[in-house]
């Protein structure tokens, strides 16, 4: 047990001695330097351990033999120890990172670094205000001087601006301290109380507080900080952004008790505003370090806000929120700054060098996901609890601002991420040199983020281990990533089936039904991925993560578990989509919409009353009466995932640009997660119907989605995009049927979900096969492939019949159920629109089968073969499924009937194979037999009585007595429904796309105009600070 004062004295002493030590060689001085830093970490680490786990009481260190207030006292409690441990560790790792630099530069660098650590340590521990000033000046001066380690014009000018700003802030601080002393006759925080102040005295408190607050870089008085972040060497910047910020943040925490509530409120709001605007401005940023700077400033703002707004919460929760944000932000930020130093690229577009550098990419990814607050990292939990807290406190405006700011942050961070992975190919690739001294600290920090997230998941929430499975899957698959992809694929298939077996004893049939869609559907689709060659590094990990998250949605018990799985699903699907060749924009769109949806859901869940029973969410939610706002928010969140009209624009991009064997998962299964969620909302809704009928409007949205999706699909040239829009349209039907809130409606929604899973999987896999052979998705470049890929053709044929709803296949059952339910409900016009949509669906269905398989075979495809067997197998499994439920609709109708009966009175009668509703009847079995009969009779007749038949080739056509010129000019495929587009006129314009495009443009221009504040002129920055102080002064109403 070492007296903590040594962490000050040792560093200080070493700092002075280093000049002498250096005379006998840099090696020795470096040894001493790192020795001292490690010792600091060790000492404080021990203290942290004692204070936290052994419940050692808080240590008060009195200097000069007197106790406070007569002398200066230092305090080391758990909080101090935590911050100090963190700061010293970061300082040590930063020093390791700077190893090369320290080896070469003047010894003053090392000295300054140690002095800076003294400043930080002192600042955190001291309880004396003037002492605080001294330590902060020590910290600042050493930091200013450290900046000169890189003597470029940029860093020097940034440093100068920093000094001026810092000087002004410290002047305020000093004035504040002086006046506090004047009014209270005391400088020790423990002896200053709010009650001691006269009205005038509040000014002194204000000066003190605003000085600290300005050091925390509030918007807009923070231009100087951005310049420093951009210009200074990454190693130093990580110290400034992390260690210094942590210390100053802690100072703020320390003085908080003496601040009046109205100050705190203003600062809290100012923090939120900072968070919002810096993230908004980050949108326009192209420079990596400055981008991190914006993010850093924003996060500190959030940190301050979270601290202020959670003061009244129970300690453990407050630690989770503030600690979560603190840790998450600072560690991730340090790591990312280090990575910028390793990559050494300023422009985000040049970051695609990371592509070839897997270890660095993984670190980058981990830190970025942590920074953006995705699970399982600490920021996620903090955000969840924070939002929940704010919502309970009815601070909706703050919640909205924070979430919007977070969204902006996600956008610019992940734009960076996606550009790194999928950036433009043109830039040259030089391998990045991975120096051990730089990689080591980064790796440690990435490790710590993961460790912390594990700890939170284990100790704070105590989740069922199933909920860690998605992450474990990624880790395990990454360990065995050296295996060929086939083996990994088979293992994954086994894993999915085992997982299905594990969760099999489900509580209810509705879970079982979605379990079949999620797990069995995925398992069959995995067969399609077995066609992969090579290693497909990382692919199966993400795939398993996604599938397990689907499953976990079913067994989630609390809102948080559900939301966690939801976020895991989003992350994994985002990364899977990003694996596509040109998927940068597509995956971004997907992520933006998903994140926005997730935030809405977060608020929605926070609004929802607590669950009363301990069964799975889908069951227990029926006992919960969701408020209207929660219903709306949750519904929007789920409808974003299911691609409803208005928020659908991510869908075609993501489906089309994902790798072709991933698309079936995204389309056939992922969208069903949204359906599942919506059904969940519906279950609560029917039990506790509010006065305002939300589902009526959801029904309309679903119906319009169906028609718009169908039209959009008809006008596509890209096969996968067409199928994507088709999915949108089909899910529109499902959403509308859920919204009916009747037995028949839910029956049809589930029936169609099941059907859609099968036929859309098969169609996407068929297109994957075609793409695999022809290397194109553009339909007019294909044609006549029926001759080369008959098995794929048959599969597509059956599936499009199933989609279109033509009897005798199962699609008709869906149509029959849907129309019956709509008429029964009295939604006549909606039913009319759906009829229209189902007519339009013929357009795209014919288009996809004709332009790919029929018509003229192109020269370049004369030698293509049938799709690989791995693509054929799943398709035919699905065909068997479709045929079975077409022939024997009871197989599916009966169980679904019983599921729906749980919520509504049954409205159908099943008699043999005849299913009757109040409106009509349908006997799928008989229809099948009649159809077979009427099909076989003419077939036999034709086979018997046809004359001599000659099979001819593709150009043996009557061509107005000429011969066709080339297959390209003879194949009708491009812009096939031009006349329809013409007929639609203005209705055919992509208005929703335009709308979102405008939103994006506007927010970017807004960001651009706001950031003009930062003119780069140091004097402007001073003006900002002074104006800021004045404005805050008036707002806080001292």
């Amino acid at each position: 047990m070492v007296n903590p004062i040594y962490i000050l004295t040792l560093s200080l002493a070493a700092g002075f001695l280093l000049t002498l030590i250096d005379k006998s060689g840099r090696k020795l001085s470096l040894t001493v330097f790192y020795g001292i830093l490690s010792l600091n970490v060790f000492i404080i680490g021990e203290w942290f351990y004692r204070l936290t786990f052994l419940n050692t009481p808080t240590v008060i260190i009195n200097t000069a033999g007197f106790s406070a207030p007569l002398s200066i006292n230092l305090q080391l409690g758990m909080q101090e120890a935590f911050v100090l441990l963190f700061a010293n560790l970061t300082a040590l790792l930063s020093a390791v990172y700077l190893f090369k630099k320290f080896k070469e530069t003047h010894i003053s660098g090392l000295i300054l670094y140690l002095i800076m650590i003294v400043g930080v340590n002192g600042l955190v521990m001291t309880r004396d205000l003037f002492n605080m000033f001294v330590f902060s000046e020590i910290l600042s001066i050493s930091t200013y001087a450290l900046i000169t380690l890189t003597e470029t014009k940029k860093s020097l000018s940034a440093g100068f601006k920093y000094m001026i700003a810092g000087g002004i802030a410290s002047t305020f601080f000093l004035l504040g301290v002086t006046f506090i002393y004047y009014f209270t006759g005391n400088l020790n925080l423990d002896f200053i109380h709010l009650g001691n102040f006269s009205n005038l005295g509040f000014i002194s408190i204000f000066l003190l507080a605003i000085a600290v607050f300005i050091e925390l870089k509030p918007f807009p008085a923070n231009g100087w900080a951005l310049d420093v972040y951009e210009a200074v060497d990454s190693g130093i910047v990580s110290v400034i952004a992390v260690v210094n910020s942590a210390a100053i943040f802690f100072v703020f925490y320390k003085i908080m008790p003496i601040l009046p509530q109205n100050f705190l409120n203003v600062f809290g709001i100012a923090g939120v505003i900072t968070f919002f605007f810096s993230n908004l401005m980050g949108l326009k940023q192209k420079n990596a370090k400055r981008l991190l700077g914006y993010s850093s400033i924003g996060q500190i703002g959030l940190l301050v806000a979270s601290l202020i707004f959670t003061m009244h919460l129970p300690r453990s929760l407050m630690y989770l929120i503030v600690g979560g944000f603190f840790f998450n932000h600072l560690i991730a930020k340090a790591g990312l700054f280090w990575i910028t130093g390793i990559v050494k690229k300023e422009n985000l577009k040049d970051w695609n060098v990371l592509k070839n550098n897997k270890p660095l990419l993984v670190l980058f990814g981990i830190l970025l996901f942590a920074l953006a607050g995705f699970p399982p990292f600490a920021g996620f939990w903090a955000k969840w609890e924070f939002v929940k807290m704010l919502v309970h406190g009815k601070m909706f405006f703050v919640v909205g601002t924070i979430l919007l700011g977070s969204l902006f942050e996600v956008i610019f961070l992940f734009r960076w991420f996606t550009l790194s992975i999928k950036g433009d190919e043109k830039t040259e690739h030089k391998n990045i040199s991975l120096e051990l001294s730089k990689m080591f600290p980064t790796t440690i920090f990435a490790g710590i983020t993961i460790l912390i997230s594990v700890l939170i998941m284990k100790f704070f929430y105590d989740f069922n281990w199933l909920h860690a499975l998605p992450v474990l899957a990624v880790l395990i698959i990454n360990v065995i990533d050296f295996l060929p992809s086939k083996i990994k694929g088979i293992l994954s298939l086994a894993a999915v089936l085992t997982y299905g077996y594990l969760i099999y004893p489900l509580e209810s049939n509705i879970q079982l039904f979605f379990g079949i869609i999620f797990i069995i559907g995925s398992a069959i689709n995995i067969i399609g991925t077995l066609n992969r060659k090579g290693k497909s590094e990382g692919f199966y990990g993400l795939l398993l993560m996604m599938i397990f998250s689907f499953g976990n949605l079913l067994v989630a018990i609390t809102y948080l578990e559900f939301f966690l799985s939801w976020e895991f699903m989003t992350i994994s699907s985002f990364l899977l989509i990003l694996r596509g060749k040109k998927a940068q924009k597509a995956s971004m769109l997907y992520l933006i919409f998903s994140t926005a949806g997730a935030y809405l859901m977060m608020v929605g869940f926070s609004l929802a009353p607590d669950l009363v029973s301990n069964s799975v969410l889908i069951l227990s939610i029926s006992n919960v009466s969701l408020p209207i706002a929660a219903t709306i928010l949750l519904s929007i969140g789920f409808m974003i995932k299911s691609g409803s009209l208005g928020v659908h624009i991510w869908l075609p991009e993501a489906h089309a640009e994902a790798e072709s064997d991933v698309s079936p998962f995204i389309s056939a299964i992922l969208l069903k997660a949204g359906v599942f969620g919506l059904l969940m909302v519906g279950i609560s809704y029917i039990k506790h119907t509010p006065s305002f009928d939300i589902f009526y409007w959801i029904g309309w949205i679903g119906v319009l989605t169906a028609i718009v999706g169908a039209f959009l699909a008809s006008f596509q040239e890209d096969a996968k995009r067409l199928l994507a829009y088709s999915s949108m349209s089909q899910v529109g039907y499902i959403v509308a049927s859920i919204a009916i809130l009747s037995h028949l409606g839910w029956l049809s929604a589930m029936y169609l979900s099941f059907n859609h899973m099968m036929f859309k999987s098969a169609l996407f896999i068929a297109i994957a096969g075609v793409y695999y052979r022809t290397h194109t998705r553009t339909m007019y470049e294909m044609g006549g492939l029926i001759k080369k890929m008959p098995l794929s053709f048959i599969s597509v044929l059956i599936m499009i019949i199933a989609v279109s709803g033509v009897p005798p296949l199962s699609g008709f059952g869906a149509k029959w159920l849907i129309y019956s339910s709509f008429i029964e409900k009295g939604w006549y016009l909606q039913a009319g629109v759906l009829f229209f949509a189902s007519g339009v669906s013929f357009l795209y269905l014919y288009r996809i089968i004709h332009t790919i398989f029929l018509g003229q075979l192109k020269y370049e495809h004369q030698n293509v073969k049938e799709a690989p067997i791995w693509f054929i197998i799943p398709q035919y499994i699905f065909i068997i499924g479709i045929m079975a439920i077409s022939m024997f609709p009871n197989l599916i109708i009966q169980p679904l009937n019983s599921i729906a009966m749980r919520y509504f009175n049954s409205s159908i009668i099943i008699d043999g194979y005849t299913i009757s509703s109040s409106l009509g009847y349908w006997n799928g079995n008989l229809v099948m037999y009649v159809t077979m009969g009427v099909f076989v009779v003419p077939l036999i007749f034709l086979m018997l009585f046809n004359g001599r038949m000659q099979k001819v080739k593709q150009f043996n056509i009557v061509y107005a007595a000429e011969r066709p010129e080339s297959p390209q000019t003879t194949h009708v495929a491009h812009n096939m429904y031009a006349h329809y587009r013409k007929a639609l006129g203005g209705w055919g314009k992509p208005r929703i796309w335009d709308f979102w495009h405008e939103v994006s443009e506007w927010s970017h221009s807004l960001a651009d105009s706001i950031r003009q504040l930062y003119t780069g002129n140091g004097q402007t920055y001073i003006l900002h600070i002074i104006m800021y102080v004045i404005v805050i002064y008036f707002i806080s109403g001292v």
Binding site: G947, F955, N956, E962, R963
Partner: protein, 213 residues
């Protein structure tokens, strides 16, 4: 004959399609047309009866004589009362009306369209030009005698033959069909090489397969 010989013969039976560039040959069928024997007498008679009453003309006005088909179609002469109807595609028609002179360019199209008709198929040639060249007998650009190139069932003389003459010709064709004399399709298949030789003699830019299925 062993299997090898059969294959060899089959190969010889294939058309060479030399007029086509190498890469286009896979796009066209290279099967040689064959003769198809009529069915048994009664059935064939019945079918011939129907064929004679349902004459579908290919809608291709090859020469100036096609002008005389218009009045035949419209209300003055109304060919539909004889079961004659125009048809827009050779795949579905049974009568090819060659409307007068056939230039070399046109004869290429005539051959293509004729070959694309499904047998039994019949040809009516209008005007003197198709019989002996008529007023174009010494033209560098027209053929003189149509039945060197495709089998003709009925010639209708005149320059131009009036619709009445056309009706008479059609009636004659009906009679011939009913008696089973119109076997142009088989004749063409039997003498396929001879017809091809004649055709290729005058059509120089032969950019189509030897038989247009």
């Amino acid at each position: 004959m062993d299997k090898k010989d059969i294959k060899e013969i089959e190969k010889q039976m294939k058309l060479a399609n030399e007029g086509l560039p190498e890469k286009e040959r896979i796009l066209f069928s290279d099967v040689r047309p064959t003769t198809v024997a009529p069915l048994n007498k009664y059935l064939e008679n019945f079918l011939n009866w129907a064929r004679a009453r349902s004459l579908w003309i290919i809608g291709y006005g090859t020469g100036c004589g096609a002008m005389e088909l218009r009045p035949l179609m419209t209300s003055r002469f109304d060919m539909s009362r004889f079961g004659i109807a125009p048809r827009p595609t050779p795949r579905q028609s049974s009568v090819f009306v060659i409307g007068g002179y056939a230039s070399i360019k046109t004869i290429k199209r005539i051959v293509r369209s004729y070959e694309q008709m499904q047998g039994p198929k019949f040809v009516i040639a209008l005007g003197s030009c198709t019989i002996n060249g008529g007023m174009y007998y010494d033209s560098y650009n027209t053929i003189n005698r149509l039945d060197y190139y495709i089998p003709v069932d009925i010639y209708i003389a005149g320059c131009m033959p009036r619709p009445e003459a056309l009706i008479a010709g059609f009636n004659k064709l009906k009679e011939k069909i009913q008696t089973g004399e119109c076997e142009g399709m088989n004749k063409y298949a039997e003498n396929f090489d001879w017809y091809k030789k004649n055709q290729k003699q005058i059509i120089k830019d032969w950019n189509m397969p030897d038989y247009n299925w």
